[in-house]
Amino acid sequence: MKSSNNWETIIGLEVHAQIISKSKLFSGASTNFGSEPNTQVSLVDAAMPGMLPVINKDCVEQAIKTGLGLNAQINKRSIFDRKNYFYPDLPQGYQISQFSQPIVGKGSIPIDLKDGTSKEIGITRLHIEQDAGKSVHDIEPSKSYIDLNRSGIALMEIVSEPDIRSAEEAQEYVKKLRSILRYIGTCDGNMEEGSLRCDVNISVRIKGEELGTRAEIKNVNSIKSIGQAIDYEFKRQTEIISSGGKIDQETRLFDEKKGETRSMRSKEEAHDYRYFPDPDLPPLEIEDEWIEKIKKNLPELPDVKKKNLINQYKIPSYDAAILVSDKNNAEFFDKIIAGNKKRNPKNVANWIIGELFALLNKNNLEIKDSPIKAEDLGELIDYIEDQTISGKIAKNVFDEMFKTKKKAKDIIEKKGLKQITDTGEIEKLIDKVLNNNKEKVDEFKSGKEKLFGYFVGQVMQETKGTANPGIVNKILKKKLAK
């Protein structure tokens, strides 16, 4: 879709991330996904008369960790507010959330774009709140079935500044956010299971003019959908404005199948949430010592790691970005490097990003399910390095390792793939080949230089490809020069 140079898209994202914890935010029921309905519900979650909330310390710690991972300010005093509205999956008739004084304040995260540039996206705030239960609408036609297992699970709501200007930026932001959350272990970022959800706030304007009216798009459940929803909205909003119309401030639902957004039934009247501080919960006070302790134990964040890969190991920025984009990639890489200090990091990176990813993608596998383990790939790389096998042979061994899960050593031995590096032996083979091809040697000597490759090929054939190419070249050159 062509976008006029004059139009500017202003996007802000609200991401809801389910906190990794054993039990819920205000009750001791389990947070497991996929259990039988209402089996992970306490009296508190069901909002029985007289029930009261008690906060889970770990959930608070996870939020602080996340705040640190977003380079954000941790607010040492924050308040829980009630957000009041009626819905059958909201047993209390209110959600315990944070409105005026959230636990985390301003921060930012860097994102990398295709054109090689980087951009900082601001974080406005992060707060903790309860998740709602689930309504199932398709069991009986005239009824909705309510399951409260999810009711009360801890969520972090992460609000970005409206710094995002394109679908690509939005997608990179969510990808980066997700990887940070996974790195520090505060959310598994699983959009299919709903542990990471995204609402998109989008408006358009002619560059330089005032901000336009924004629409809120809900139900955007994948990275792909984020792009689609933004593209559709851009088109919809610019068309309306271009033809003289006005954008309604409203909530719209993204329809995955159609790739469109549509207006929800107008419920503007109903959205008076009457926020007020929850009188059942005193203020949340966080001590400096606690924050310091968490800071110390925080794992290396992807952007820091990426810088290290570039500066320390001289790995190109693009490759470094791929390595840190997923905690599993980084760990795989780290393991190989740690296994033998002599391994060349650039080389290792190439093998992972080039060869391994190609096979993984082809077979629809994640790196954590790779048939070739990190140690084994490291071993293979060592064999190339110490000339046990040639680079070309190594590729075959690699394929075989992937298919059979066997180790490099076994495959090399079984198939007799060890590289021949003995110059004497190679010289003998070269002599044999040259003797068998006297005519071609004459042709070469009279100018047909292309035949050099033919001779090399013949030597390789004799050795089933295991002759060290460098040595072959050297000796062959010498012999032919005579």
């Binding site: 009296l43 008369p49 008690v54 009041n84 009626f86 008739g93 009457r274 919960l281």
Partner: protein, 484 residues
């Protein structure tokens, strides 16, 4: 042996000395309750179970494994969730609700050996000052004579009527703006609202979370101390529960404290009846006789306390009562549309006063009005708390009337909400500040109805409150007068 007028202390002595069994005692009270049904003090009796419980207690007493309140039948306000036993909050919304759990405070009583006699009447969802908003009809003040029916006060009107009417030895109540103290005053018994956080709120149907407190309603101050020792205690299931050491209020009663008494000048207004002023002055004399210094103190924001209370309590109530929606328990008035289901259920399930408070609460929290009402009220509350802090730098306890009048006739104020709210003018400030406060009966009005006086103490200083209360109790004429 007259079991009818017996108090808790006397009762425990008799049980300990094996002069009576729990079974006899309990059977007696079941009969008395039945014979006095006209008081409408109880919503339900625990007839199915209580004798069995009494027999178990008797076994323990014989074995010498008796706990502090072993075998004593207690009346419980029907706002406390009692496991598998009807808990209605005096509302149609919960008129056949049987919780699958027990409130912490009642469990504490059962762990101390007490047994459940019955669930007492109250204003619906604890909202009211006369027990007239109950779905099960009003309870009657046992002091009512002739044909006139006087209110027993509210919201813990049933508990007050039961204790005053001698169909309960002791009872529990809850106090949000005066709901223990005012009915205690109207019915001529002792009623204590402990410091906020002293008793757990877990399992008590919530009205206004920052104000609700469970407390004892008894015949004597000693009884109240005994009950509070059993009821109080830290509960980790309640985030507002105070984490303090185990209490010894009953033991500490013997300590004769020399107290400094404060009389707030703002509570003295020209609208007060002479009879109340007379008793107030009499109480001051009692304190002076007992070596206590009496001084005037200043609580400058007193006149704003009621309005502050009504804004805050209604706001919290509007949110706390949102869970009564016909989905998971309680009444359901069905429909094909969920919003109709909500509206019909809540309209049918809630009475008018509850609806009024929910609507006021919704209004003061809604967009555009939050700052002007709710936020303003929380700020004024802060000032009221400060008033008390300053006053308590000078004095140990504060002495005031509990209510501006004696009990009124049923039906006389029900159509005028504000007139009804004014009954709480003296009790509400201590609620807003979370301070412990007790009502002790001092005398009778010209109408021969009880008049109670209030003693307010510092946070968690129920000991001083009890001490001062005992001075009033011991010196006043009330215990010598003809109690029904």
């Amino acid at each position: 042996m007259n079991l009818k007028n017996i108090n808790l202390e006397e009762c425990l002595k008799l049980l300990k000395e094996k002069k009576i069994s729990s079974k006899e005692l309990t059977s007696f009270y079941l009969k008395e309750a039945e014979a006095n049904k006209n008081l409408n003090a109880y919503i339900s009796m625990n007839s199915d179970n209580v004798i069995k419980l009494a027999e178990e207690s008797d076994k323990r007493i014989l074995n010498n494994t008796a706990r502090p309140l072993e075998g004593v039948p207690i009346a419980i306000k029907d706002l406390f969730c009692t496991k598998d036993i009807l808990t209605t909050a005096a509302s149609k919304m919960l008129d056949n609700f049987k919780p699958a759990y027990e409130s912490t405070v009642t469990q504490n009583l059962w762990d101390a050996g007490a047994i459940l006699l019955g669930k007492t009447n109250l204003d619906e969802f604890a909202m009211g000052s006369s027990n007239e908003t109950s779905f099960f009809g009003a309870s009657i003040n046992p002091w009512s004579k002739d044909k006139k029916k006087y209110v027993s006060g509210g919201s813990s009107g049933g508990s007050a009527a039961a204790v005053a009417g001698n169909i309960a030895i002791a009872a529990t109540g809850t106090d949000t703006g005066g709901s223990i103290r005012q009915p205690a005053s109207y019915c001529g018994i002792v009623g204590l609202k402990p410091t906020y956080g002293r008793c757990s709120r877990w399992g008590i149907v919530s009205f206004a979370s920052s104000l609700d407190q469970a407390g004892p309603m008894t015949k004597t101050v000693n009884d109240a101390a005994l009950m509070l020792d059993a009821m109080a205690g830290y509960d980790k299931k309640d985030s507002t529960s105070a984490n303090l050491e185990k209490t010894n209020f009953y033991k500490n009663l013997k300590n004769n404290k020399k107290l400094k008494i404060g009389i707030p000048k703002q509570y003295k207004n020209d609208q007060l009846n002479d009879e109340i002023i007379k008793l107030w002055d009499l109480g001051i004399e009692y304190f002076k006789k007992n070596n206590c210094e009496v001084v005037e103190i200043d609580l400058p924001h007193t006149e704003y306390a009621l309005a502050t209370y009504y804004i805050i309590s209604s706001a919290e109530a509007s949110s706390n009562l949102a869970r009564y929606d016909g989905v998971r328990y309680g009444l359901r008035n069905n429909s094909e549309n969920i919003n109709d289901l909500y509206e019909q259920t809540r309209s049918e399930g809630f009475g008018n006063e509850v609806k009024r408070r929910i609507m006021i609460g919704t209004y003061v929290l809604s967009a555009g009005y939050y700052d002007a009402y709710y936020l303003k009220a929380q700020k004024v509350r802060s000032k009221i708390i400060n008033d008390f802090k300053k006053a308590f730098e000078k004095v140990d306890i504060i002495f005031t009337p509990t209510a501006p009048s004696d009990a009124f006739e049923q039906g006389s104020k029900i159509d005028d909400p504000i007139q009804m709210y004014l009954n709480d003018v003296f009790t509400v400030p201590a609620s807003l500040a979370g301070l412990p406060a007790i009502s002790v009966p001092m005398g009778l009005s010209n109408n021969n109805l009880p008049l109670g006086f209030q003693i307010i103490g510092k946070s968690f200083d129920e000991d001083s409150v009890f001490s001062a209360a005992k001075i009033i109790e011991e010196n006043s004429n009330f215990k010598k007068e003809d109690k029904k």
